[in-house]
Assembly symmetry: C2
């Protein structure tokens, strides 16, 4: 029975404040490359692991917040990933299949088949895309923008964390819909990317804007119809002052708040009434039924180069903790992926 060495990224203890690389450690165990007798699980070789902001929330000892269980100190992180099936105890999957779904931060994983979200049928696009544009962040952008945002041609859209895994797609979806779209990000490099590569009409570096309300009034003299919320806190507060009547705020994330022990107070919520705004938190798991429709919509755009995707790929399993931690200081440019193995 083949035994392999299996490196894992382990959470050492629950995290408070900003996560550090030292909150995780890399350990090595061995794994038998054979399914246990009668198991209906699936044995995976992980190829790409996805670094996503929500993961910070699972590093805290709280009851399942997102429909996902918190991490367990001493055990590997979990997350989305692209993997190859080595052995399968479920008839839907067979050896050699490529899949994406929920897996663990290790080289090889034994997972329940229910954690596989989709078999990968289209391999003319980069495999890593199934951690991003064609995976959870892509479907998140699609569901959040189209289902919750209810965009109409000519509307004004603002996206925060706009060069991130989700934001860069929301901006492009907004342009495809005929909207005016402005993005905020945290560096000149990201702002250039938004304007020159991702097709945003305008973009700004929020770190250089001391008065966000004034900034938003400059970019949106007539107000914002859709704010795609990724950051929360002060940005949300300034946005609330600049929403138009009947505006929509799909709330995808509030990454500025995840590492704070005392979250910032949002003071302008009365604007929800004045402007009759719909603000709606969501989770991609509620929209999984849209995945086939989403692929059908997006694959042709990708193939024709009408939608592009910027990835930041950390090459090598050992780089996992640094890549993940980097999300919270904005070190990544584009979707942060961890390359574990090429095949």
């Amino acid at each position: 029975m083949a035994q392999v060495r299996n490196k894992q990224v382990i959470l050492r203890d629950y995290v408070s404040g900003f996560p550090k690389e030292t909150d995780m450690s890399i350990v090595e165990s061995t794994l038998s490359l054979k399914l246990p007798e009668g198991s209906n699980e699936v044995l995976l070789k992980n190829l790409y692991l996805s670094c996503d902001p929500y993961m910070r929330m699972l590093m805290t000892n709280v009851e399942s917040l997102l429909g996902l269980p918190s991490y367990v100190p001493g055990s590997p992180l979990t997350g989305f990933g692209v993997a190859r099936v080595l052995e399968s105890g479920h008839t839907d999957y067979k050896k050699g299949d490529l899949i994406w779904g929920l897996t663990k931060w290790e080289e090889y994983s034994l997972v329940p088949s229910t954690q596989i979200l989709s078999k990968i049928e289209h391999t003319d696009v980069p495999l890593s895309y199934y951690t991003g544009i064609l995976g959870m962040p892509g479907l998140t952008a699609y569901a959040g923008f189209f289902e919750l945002g209810s965009p109409k041609k000519g509307e004004n859209v603002f996206v925060s964390a706009a060069s991130g895994a989700v934001g860069q797609l929301v901006g492009q979806f907004a342009k495809l819909t005929g909207c005016y779209v402005v993005g905020s990000a945290g560096s000149k490099e990201k702002v250039d990317l938004l304007k020159n590569k991702l097709g945003f009409d305008e973009a700004f570096n929020y770190k250089e804007e001391p008065d966000l309300d004034a900034t938003l009034k400059r970019y949106f003299p007539e107000g914002i119809d859709i704010y795609f919320e990724n950051v929360g806190g002060k940005t949300l507060d300034a946005v609330l002052l600049n929403m138009r009547v009947h505006g929509r705020i799909p709330v995808c994330g509030m990454v500025s708040q995840y590492n704070l022990t005392q979250p910032e107070g949002v003071t302008n919520l009365t604007n929800l009434i004045y402007k009759r705004i719909r603000m709606q938190g969501f989770n991609v798991f509620d929209f999984f039924h849209l995945y086939p429709k989403f692929l059908e919509f997006l694959l042709p755009h990708i193939r024709e180069g009408k939608v592009v995707y910027v990835e930041d790929i950390a090459d090598g399993f050992e780089k996992g903790p640094a890549a993940l931690v980097g999300l919270y200081s904005g070190r990544n440019v584009g979707k942060q992926v961890l390359l574990v193995a090429r095949e």
Copy 2:
């Protein structure tokens, strides 16, 4: 040409902080009880004027926040009211008709016919009801609870300012729907009213609850499906910790915030994501098309005594400023109405 003396409640100047009686004054002018030649306006004798929390917002010098213009210092307040038509320049209305709609805080008003929201056809219920249960607050409760709240039998509903013009109806609509409903209010008298007259399952005095989070956990061990938001601030913050997955928060008002120069910060908004909550500000004007359906639903319930309504009627025009100001200290018990004239 008949001239009448016409008392008016005038806003003296824009208000900051809590409004005081002395922010208003009562003046007397004269009015000709005849429509100007060729006018298509309507001359009204005001019978009941409605005291509503939103009026505080119009006492500030801001651009129209609610689709209603701010008050003008030196001019009478405007608001909802029940009136009798004395002269009409519009074919939809004739002398003697009873109407409700937007009028001015004075004994007689000349208003554009477009400000009339409905002719009063059913007079077997108290006329004052058209400032409350059958008027703007009633339709607000109906639209907010049924349209935005999407209630289902067996769900858990929390209502703040629960004995107010809107809250007392939301609670009764929740019971009609088969929900469990708890209300908060600011005095023992109001709490008794909620439990003994208005049919709430439970009620509490928020002023006696030092830890609202703990209070809500006690009344809602399984969490809240619908929070009908009337107050904002600390209450909202505690509620966000206690919402259930896929909860809804129709945002009708945030009366605790209207008089603050610096609103309270709401810190628990990340729960919108964790619980996938829909939070939606609204305004009754967006739901006026539902008024006939609303009357058809509610009138039989009123006639059969299955829905009741508690009013606090100030008798006499001069009591207007005190009645209005009393809303912000919670002095009123039930819907605050100002009786100007009986016919």
